[in-house]
């Protein structure tokens, strides 16, 4: 099963490699990983998407917790949560396709942020599956390049992840 794990860690050199090293050393999957400093610059917030059985993901969170620089870990799947991912996608857009693509982008609530006479660059945010869906609707050969950030997640409502 897909799990989305959120963690706060010390914003220190090497902290990221400890997380990445843990996953490779123990053979866990990282589907995506996104990280940046928080409003408190001494802390980084990371969102990690992993796939595994509940037992494996329980071990993952325990081992993440054991890392000395990790301050807090939550498995967002344990409660309600919201997740978003940003995708930039460059597509071939010529002739009739230009209108068709514009309509599609609107349906997906994305925007076209760069235009040439041969292509569009589209910005799209949403859950990872929405981004997948968008790509599926595009003709394969039309997609020239995609860049995705990996998911970021927060808990729903008043619940917050804090030190």
């Amino acid at each position: 099963m897909r799990h989305i794990i959120s963690l706060l860690m010390e914003n220190e050199a090497g902290a990221l490699s400890r997380v990445a090293g843990l996953f490779s050393a123990r053979g866990y999957n990282i589907e995506s990983l996104s990280v940046a400093p928080t409003e408190d610059p001494t802390l980084s917030r990371m969102t990690l998407v992993t796939v595994g059985s509940d037992e494996v993901v329980e071990q993952v969170t325990k081992h993440l917790n054991k890392l000395i620089e990790v301050v807090k870990v939550v498995d967002l799947n344990d409660g309600c949560h919201i997740e978003r991912e940003l995708m930039l996608v460059k597509v071939r857009a010529q002739g009739q396709d230009r209108e068709e693509i514009k309509r599609l982008v609107e349906i997906f609530r994305g925007c076209i942020i760069d235009v040439t006479d041969k292509s569009y660059t589209i910005e799209l945010t949403g859950t990872s599956s929405k981004l997948d869906a968008f790509l599926e609707t595009m003709e394969k050969s039309a997609v020239l390049e995609t860049v995705r950030t990996g998911a970021s997640g927060v808990g729903r409502g008043d619940w917050i992840l804090k030190v």
């Binding site: 860690m9 010390e10 050199a13 090497g14 490699s17 400890r18 090293g21 050393a25 037992e55 329980e58 071990q59 325990k62 081992h63 917790n65 054991k66 000395i68 620089e69 990790v70 301050v71 030190v163």
Partner: protein, 567 residues
């Protein structure tokens, strides 16, 4: 206003503040300023080894046989890479240790400088934590943190990498009294409600077993473990790492369990209905095939400081995360207050069953043999030292015979590399043990293959007058490898015969020690007695043992605990 001192002096002052009496190391370019400061003082004694691996093993033996953090000091590059085996060994067995490594100057890092390696990167997977010090102002706090992290929670080695220029830079020295880290708060007390549940479960047992591991030794919980076991009159088995946690000569002891554990311990583990695991981690050498283990129905209580040890290999019913002695104290209190009494008649039947298993006499061997049996040497060592020695070992058959036949009644007496299984550990570890216990009698049980992996340390022993007694069980084979080849590879002894062995007596003598060669069973006891009479001298005893002897019982890899091969 206090004066500013160099990073090198700060490092040494930190060690003094931590009460470190003895460190093990080897100098080199990146640590010259540190050595200069060590030279100028007398509080911290430096032991010069002959190979960095030995420095770390010695610091490790020092820590295991005392309750102190072991300290090793190595230079950058090859000094550090030589130390990695030692660090990984300590990591696998959760030994509190601080390793200080020199690094090339800050501005040279990343430029493939002479003797540069990415120390933090190389050691990251085999340390509890590591630091690269980038500013002399952070040095003292970093060292404080290193000792704190190494010795609290589930202990482990912590490495501090110090670039050469940092050892020259100056700042004021303030050693913090304590550190708090928002990201590191090890639990101490167990959950009271969980402990209550555990107490109920324990008292409902009809076929209980207490299974205790290295966590009991590391957390000094032996007293509480004994109290618990006595209170309940339940049987207790120790892992390889837990030997001495519960006295081996006590009638409630089942001896060691696992791959080469006793028949009674393994059968009791397999067929118990309530298992109380204390500071142990259900590893593959202990429970064999986890699927086979789970075929039997039993409830498991697991007490451990490390949440990630719980339900890692075996699903646990009542986990209690906490410092073992604290949890055991609470558990004992709960048991005493609990109105339920344990089922005495069921317990009586269980003990009867255990006695039947014991009657199988799984550790028997040919006592009439005309060739020296390795088991007999260990038994004699036990008799001659009255069970009071510190015993280190290397890795192989001799290690298992040592674990089976030396009856450890006290914790911190049995020192071996259980997790990583590092050949070469025994001799340097014994040096650390002897330095931590100057009055103690220290024996190193080894094999002719293992001892050659760190034999150079005989020189260190001479320099510091360490009167170790080395028991070389010389079967001219990498015995454990040979045993597996005999059992599982059709007797094809590929590369496991030890050819071109040195004359160990002459070799020992060339280092300035006493060497003995013992070839007849009737000479074993006398030789051991004579060796221990030589109080101030290292004696290397080369016992020429039966080449064909195997370690029994044995749970073959992938098999279940009740599927032992017996003699």
């Amino acid at each position: 206003m206090s004066v500013e001192i160099t990073g090198a002096e700060i490092t040494v002052r930190c060690l003094q503040e931590e009460g470190v009496n003895c460190i093990f190391g080897y100098p080199g370019g990146a640590v010259l300023f540190l050595y200069d400061e060590l030279f100028k003082q007398e509080k911290v004694r430096h032991i010069l080894v002959r190979h960095e691996q030995a420095a770390v093993h010695a610091a490790d033996g020092y820590a295991r046989s005392s309750d102190q953090v072991g300290v090793a000091l190595v230079t950058s590059g090859p000094g550090l890479t030589n130390a990695v085996t030692g660090i990984a060994t300590a990591y696998m067995d959760s030994i509190p240790m601080v390793i200080i490594s020199g690094q090339v100057p800050t501005e040279a890092i990343g430029l493939d400088a002479f003797q540069e390696v990415d120390t933090v990167g190389i050691t990251r997977p085999c340390v509890k934590h590591n630091f690269l010090v980038k500013d002399v102002a952070e040095l003292a706090l970093t060292i404080k943190k290193a000792f704190y992290i190494a010795s609290t929670g589930r202990p482990g080695p912590v490495l501090v990498d110090i670039p050469k220029d940092i050892t020259q830079h100056k700042t004021k020295f303030v050693y913090p009294d304590k550190v708090t880290m928002r990201s590191y708060n090890p639990v101490v007390k167990g959950h009271v409600r969980q402990t209550k549940r555990a107490a109920d479960l324990i008292l409902s047992a009809k076929r209980p077993v207490i299974y205790s591991g290295g966590g009991v030794i590391l957390s000094d919980a032996s007293t509480q473990l004994i109290e618990l076991t006595k209170l309940l009159n339940y049987p207790c088995t120790n892992t390889l790492m837990g030997l001495g946690g519960y006295p081996a000569t006590d009638k409630q002891s089942l001896g060691m369990l696992g791959m080469h554990g006793t028949y009674e311990a393994n059968m009791a583990m397999q067929y118990c209905d309530v298992l109380i695991a204390v500071g142990a981690r259900f590893d593959d050498r202990v429970i064999g095939n986890p699927k086979h283990f789970s075929n039997e129905n039993r409830k498991i209580i697991h007490i451990d400081i490390d949440p990630s040890s719980i339900s890692k290999r075996v699903k646990v019913d009542v986990p209690i995360v906490g410092n073992v002695p604290d949890v055991l104290k609470e558990l004992i209190k709960q048991l005493k207050e609990n109105k339920t009494k344990s089922d005495q008649s069921a317990l009586k039947d269980w003990w009867k069953q255990i006695d039947l298993w014991r009657a199988r006499d799984c550790l028997k061997y040919d006592r009439e043999s005309k060739i020296i049996k390795p088991q007999m040497v260990v038994e004699q060592l036990y008799n001659v030292t009255k069970g009071n020695a510190f015993v280190t070992s290397d890795v192989g058959q001799h290690q298992m015979w040592a674990a089976q036949f030396y009856k450890f009644d006290k914790p911190r007496r049995w020192i071996n590399s259980g997790g990583l299984g590092t050949m070469g550990f025994g001799l340097p570890a014994a040096m650390g043990v002897q330095l931590a216990n100057p009055k103690g009698r220290v024996a190193c049980i080894t094999g002719e293959a293992s001892i050659q992996m760190c034999i150079q340390e005989l020189s260190t022993c001479k320099q510091y007058g360490l009167p170790l007694k080395i028991i070389n069980l010389n079967n001219r084979y990498m015995g454990m490898v040979r045993q597996w080849q005999e059992f599982f590879h059709g007797n094809r002894y590929a590369e496991s015969y030890m050819n071109a062995l040195p004359d160990f007596v002459k070799l020992t003598e060339s280092y300035g020690h006493v060497g003995m060669k013992i070839e007849r069973p009737e000479d074993v006891e006398g030789a051991l007695k004579e060796a221990f009479k030589l109080k101030d001298q290292l004696v290397f005893m080369d016992f020429i043992t039966d080449q064909t002897e195997n370690v029994f019982p044995m749970v073959p890899g992938g098999k279940g605990l009740s599927e032992m091969i017996l003699v």
